[in-house]
Each structure stands twice: as structure tokens, then as C-alpha cells.
Symmetry: C2
Subunit: 409 residues, 2 copies
């Protein structure tokens, strides 16, 4: 966000909600009532929201409960009774929900737009669930004009949505100046430094501290599997690429996982639960970690892959029979990953930037031949946190603009 | 590591192992034999190690298998047969294990020290398991002289061991110059920047973007619970602290977790499995995540807490009955965290640095009164990755020195 965006938001920002977000008042409450201490809200569109009393009490936006400067919570949550109940609830003239609590007579006032955005009844929770589509060799990588992304917030938003959704995007018509990748990354957030620096140059060199800096073929992999949380985003900006070879390949680990689950559930079980160890090689640092090759969330959806075959460390925490099964399962998965049906392949052109989710879109490079020409990429990492924060901020900006527009008419 | 340390290591570093570590040759193999394709090693001390064939084949340190420049794996692991077997194994004149493989006749040579350090038989795995002690109000915080840690690698190592083990340490006799905390942090690794910058000043200010920058009491909490992986380390350097109040408190979330598990297992089950949402408040960024209040590893040991009561976000993913139980369980845990029996309390003096595991040692501050004096701390974050890498490098240095010493005698 530029500083002008920020001041636009502070302009419209109020103390009506327990955070610093902005919500439309378009959602209208018809009636509100108390039942067994919980609060029921009837919306104009016929939906009903039930708010559990303690849940709603904790979210009271008043300046005794949430700092008017930071909007962070000021009270001690354990000072509230877990059995707190609403005594009275009514609507005020602006359509806000007013609740008086039995415990201490405290009165809270809730913004209807905030209530609607945060309610959690079955219909609301279901509406919010969104699966991400996965892709294979026929994927047309979403492409965006670099200048538009750099200068226009709406184009930035569209790019971020695609990056979050597919984990693989291309930017075209970028400058071939060094430093370009940093400018693009800064549209999202802070670059995450590593032992390879903030901005790294992918070029063949004699003192390589990574296979990436040799000219050898790199199999499909992610970077920094040796870190507890590997970088969520990786950007590679092509500056020169006229050597023979050096084509780029990508595969969607989440798509491979889906296929594996269907075709070999017993292998899927192992690669999603066994901790496989990884370790970097260097004279000045020694990063190690272990994790499943595919990590699932509480609902069983893949959220992260940890796939890299040149930074593995020996498994030393399993007994023999489990160890053998773990090695076999990794073999099975890695053979699958290599299959043509999963991979898109192309040669990066100067002025192109490929931006991808390092924990989902595996990348590879065919061998290149330094004696036939040059190949130079500039790259950097960011965290998923920063992608999501940037997306949230752009969504906030769009809500802000919509509210202004509706107020102007 | 300073550059002189690094060159010391490259001096002794060889291509005998599939990484860049250093191992003593003191461990002597008496005999080696093949059985059902796996390799059995009889050690001088009577121990026996069994190495699964594929496991050992993957670790072949030769320069066809592992780059002589990067030591990263060069072959495609799926080109190895999962049924690869050892055909012959013998010891060479230097006591190394030589294995010839049936698949392609490839010959591998293994360093005995590396084999011993990485073997995984029941006796070896058991020997490696180390639990970390937890602490309560009677904890004497391990204290180290700041100058020693800055200048002497052995004192650095001792400090890092304590920091990793207890998650809470103090440094004394540090300078009160600004910039000191950065120097200390750089003994471990790269500072992790956040939306509060690389180095943050904890001081009461009117434009606060965190409750930390007000003068209010801060309840026991961790920083940045809003990030997928919150910083593993936090350092706070006391420069001035002559205002009334502003005492520091710490509690070991892993100790509280242990107590909770014994006294209320049903609550423990909820706080270790339900994802609780967190969200920061700011006009320029919007970080959100969700996770259990206590996260367990595969063996059921606490590895991370996510405890903060002023950056919570409303739970919107659970149905009513589960939501109520989740709120009640959090209440239960937070009441426990506040109990005197768990907390150490003291007032930081100028020239003191408190260094702690932000995901384990919860910290708090009593209210202070800016009209009675000044209070200024400088702080920064690092990742656990960097602590562990620094510890691994120091351990490597110590092995290196021991080998030199034994070779000199």
C-alpha cells in the first residue's frame, strides 16, 4: 500500500468495529432478540444469525474494550464470565445492534456489516468455503502486464488473486534492468532474506553454494525445504537467457497429491504423515528440518509440499520396516511428480517474471550450456503471510471504494 | 560464524561425507557384512548397526552422486531401484566401509564417524531422544555476560544451548548504546523483519500501532501470533527503565501445557487441536492466521504456543456447540497462565538483554507511568531456524577442534 492509500483508509476508518477493517452498512438487520442469553439477528434477506454471548461480548468495539489507538483488546478476557449473557438487545437509529450484558451492565454497539461478515451459522460457514483449483500440463499460466501490476492497484489485485489461487503466474513486458524483481516484490511486502541474500542471482558460477548455481539439470523441487516454514513465494526475473537449454518446468504438487490419493492411498497416507528430514549444505550455516512431503490441513486438504531430492538428509528416527516403507513411498511420489502429464514447460524470455508459490508449484530447469550463451535470472522470496496481507488490504481498499461510491449516490 | 571460522572448517572439510559436516574417525568398525541385501556393521564397542540398502545407497558421498562443489545430490533418486541391494561390503585400510551395489556395480565409500552419527537402530534412536526441561516461578534464568557471548565462541555456544533448552535467558553487562541488540542477534543469524521494522523501540508513544507501544499492562502473550510461523526468538535490550512499574514477567507455556494435560485433559485436547484465529490491527497491513493454542509434534510434545489475548479474531469456522467449548477451553488455559506459580517476575536493568523463545516463553509487562520516568527497550526477532543453524555450526566447530587436537597428539 502506498501512503496515499493508507490515508484514504484512515479517512473512512471508524471505531465501530473491533479491528481496522471497513464494512458496508448495506446489510440491514430487521430485528434482534435474546434467547437463552445468545443473540439472534434477523436479516432483511431472510437469513438468521445466532451469536454466542461470550463470543460477541469479546468483540465489543468500544474504547474501553479495544484501544482507540491500536484497536487491540484492552480487557483481560478471563475477567469476563464464560457464562456471560445478553440481557437486552435492540437496534439503534443507524441500524446498529445494541447489546446490554447481564454480568456488569456493559453496553456494546455492533456494526451490521461487521456482524454479517463475521457470523458463523451453517449457511455462512458453507458460503465461505472455497477450494483452490489444481492444474496439470494443459494449464495456461495466468499472465499479467508487469507495468500494470506495478502501477495500478486493480491489476495488482487481479494478479494476487491468481497467484493465491493457482500458485503460478507470469508477468510480461518487465524491464530487463536488475532490481526489477525487487520492485515487483515490494508491491506485495517485505522480501524474505535467506543465506543466499535478499536478491539472488541464478547464474552458473564456480563457487556455487547451491546446485541452482551450477548448470546441471535441476529436478522438480522447492527451495529451502530445510526451513521450518519455507518461503511461500518465489519470483524469478529473466534478464538474459540465450544459452542452449535452461527451459523452465512447473508442476502443481497439490494436483499430484490429489492423483496420488486416488491411485495409491496407502502411499498418500505415508507421505502426508511421516516427517522426512532435509538439510542444507554449506560451510557457514546448517539448516535442518523435517516434515511430511505433503502437509494436510485439519480438513485433509494439501496446504504445503516439501519436495526436494537434492537437500534430503538421512532418515534416522524410524525403525527399519517403517523406514523402508517411507523410502518406497517417496520413490512412488517422486516418480509421479516426473510424469509429463503434470508438468508445464517453457523457456523464460528476457523481461519475463515467473511468480509462484514455492510450497506448491514445484519448479525445475533443464541443463543449460554456458559455452553457448548466457543465462541470468534474479530472484527473491516472500512469505505467504505477506501475500495474504496484501490481498486483504486490496480487498479492504475495494470495499472502501465501494462504500464511498454508494455514499456519493 | 566469522570468516576465519569458516576457513578453518574448509581446511579440514573433505568429500568423505554426503554433506559439509565433520566427523571423528574414532568410531572403529570391526567387521561389516551383507544380509538380505542390507549392510550390518559391527562396532568396536559391541554395538551393531543395520543400514537399509536404499537408504545407504542414496547417501553415497562420491562426486558422481554428490556435487564436489555444493555437496547436494546430483542423481535422480528415482533412477535407483527401490530394491537395490549390497553385493559386497568390506573395510578399507583407513577403516572406511566400501559397498558395491548389485544394480549397476556402483561402489560407495562411507566414513565410519558419519555412519555412527547417522545410524538409526533402536539403541541409537533412543540415545538421541532428548526432552527439554520446563520451568515455573522458581526458575533461575540462565545468565551470561554479554561481552563473552559477543567475543568468545565457547560462551556463545553455552548461551545458545541454554536458549534452546529453556527458551529464556538473560545477558548482563551489555552496553546501553542503541544498536547493541543487533550486534548480539547477529551472533546467531539474520534478524527477521516485520511490519514493526528490523529493530523496534518499545517506548510509550501517541501513534502506537501495537499495545506494546502504549504504557498499559500487557498480559502474558507472544508476539506476532498473526503469522503462520511467528518469530522463534525475541530479544529485548533495556536502555532506560526508571519509570515506575514496567516490570517484566515470563511463563513457560510448555510447563503450563504439561500441567493442563494432567489436570484437565479434555481442555488440553481442545486447545491442542482447534484452530484459533488471530489478526493484527493496522492501517497498512492485515495479517491473519489460525492455529492451536498449544501445538504438539507427532510424538505429542508441545512445540509451539500461540497465546495472545489482544490480537484474537472472532472464530467463524465452527458450529455453535464446538465454538462455545473452544471459547471455554481458551478461558481455562488463560486463567491457568495467569497463576503466580508459573511466572517469574523482575525488573529489567539498563544494560540487560532478555532473549527468549517467543513461541514458548510468554512475556508480559506491568503498567508503567511515563510521568515518573523513562522506559526504552530495543528489540528484534529471529527465527528458530537460525538458532538451530548457529547451534549446529558451533557443534561442528567443536568437533573440528576436537579432531585437530586428537590428530596433533
Amino acid at each position: 500500500m502506498t501512503s496515499s492509500n493508507i490515508s484514504e483508509l484512515s479517512d473512512i476508518y471508524t471505531l465501530d468495529v473491533p479491528d481496522m477493517d471497513i464494512w458496508p452498512k448495506a446489510e440491514k438487520i430487521l430485528t434482534a432478540r435474546v434467547s437463552s442469553g445468545d443473540i439472534y439477528v434477523d436479516w432483511e434477506d431472510g437469513r438468521v444469525s445466532r451469536f454466542q454471548a461470550l463470543w460477541l461480548r469479546e468483540q465489543c468495539p468500544c474504547i474501553q474494550c479495544h484501544s482507540e489507538i491500536t484497536r487491540e483488546t484492552l480487557f483481560d478476557i478471563t475477567d469476563l464470565s464464560i457464562d456471560v449473557q445478553a440481557k437486552i438487545c435492540v437496534l439503534d437509529a443507524d441500524g446498529y445492534l445494541i447489546v446490554q450484558w447481564d454480568q456488569d451492565g456493559h453496553e456494546s454497539r455492533y456494526h451490521p456489516g461487521w456482524l454479517r461478515a463475521n457470523c458463523y451459522d451453517d449457511w455462512a460457514r458453507t458460503g465461505r468455503e472455497t477450494g483452490k483449483p489444481t492444474w496439470d500440463k494443459d494449464f495456461e499460466i495466468p499472465a499479467f502486464e508487469a507495468g500494470g501490476v506495478l502501477e495500478d492497484d486493480d491489476q495488482l489485485y487481479d494478479w494476487l488473486v491468481a497467484l493465491d489461487r493457482y500458485g503460478l503466474t507470469r508477468l510480461y513486458n518487465a524491464s530487463t534492468d536488475t532490481g526489477t524483481v525487487e520492485k515487483v516484490a515490494n508491491r506485495i511486502g517485505q522480501i524474505r532474506p535467506s543465506n543466499f541474500g535478499s536478491i539472488f542471482e541464478v547464474v552458473s558460477r564456480p563457487d556455487a553454494n547451491s546446485n541452482a548455481y551450477l548448470s546441471v539439470e535441476l529436478p522438480l523441487h522447492m527451495d529451502l525445504p530445510t526451513r521450518e516454514t519455507p518461503p511461500g513465494l518465489q519470483f524469478l526475473h529473466c534478464i538474459v537467457n540465450d544459452a542452449e537449454g535452461g527451459e523452465s518446468l512447473f508442476a502443481d504438487a497439490f494436483h499430484v497429491a490429489k492423483f496420488l490419493k486416488q491411485t495409491a492411498p496407502e502411499v498418500y497416507e505415508i507421505v502426508t504423515t511421516v516427517d522426512y528430514p532435509f538439510r542444507n549444505r554449506a560451510l557457514d550455516c546448517d539448516y535442518r528440518t523435517a516434515g511430511p512431503l505433503i502437509r494436510l490441513d485439519a480438513d485433509g486438504h494439501p496446504v504445503e509440499s516439501r519436495i526436494n531430492t537434492f537437500l534430503t538428509a538421512p532418515i534416522t528416527h524410524l525403525p527399519h520396516d517403517q523406514l523402508k516403507k517411507a523410502l518406497e513411498a517417496r520413490h512412488h511420489l517422486m516418480r509421479l511428480v516426473k510424469e509429463d502429464r503434470f508438468r508445464v514447460q517453457f523457456k523464460l524470455r528476457p523481461g519475463e517474471i515467473v511468480a509462484f508459490d514455492n510450497r506448491r508449484a514445484l519448479h525445475a530447469r533443464t541443463e543449460f550450456f554456458p559455452n553457448t550463451g548466457n543465462r541470468l535470472l534474479e530472484g527473491c522470496y516472500l512469505d505467504r503471510d505477506d501475500l495474504h496481507s496484501a490481498l486483504n488490504m486490496q480487498a479492504r481498499r475495494k470495499r472502501c471504494e465501494a462504500i464511498r461510491k454508494s455514499e456519493a449516490t
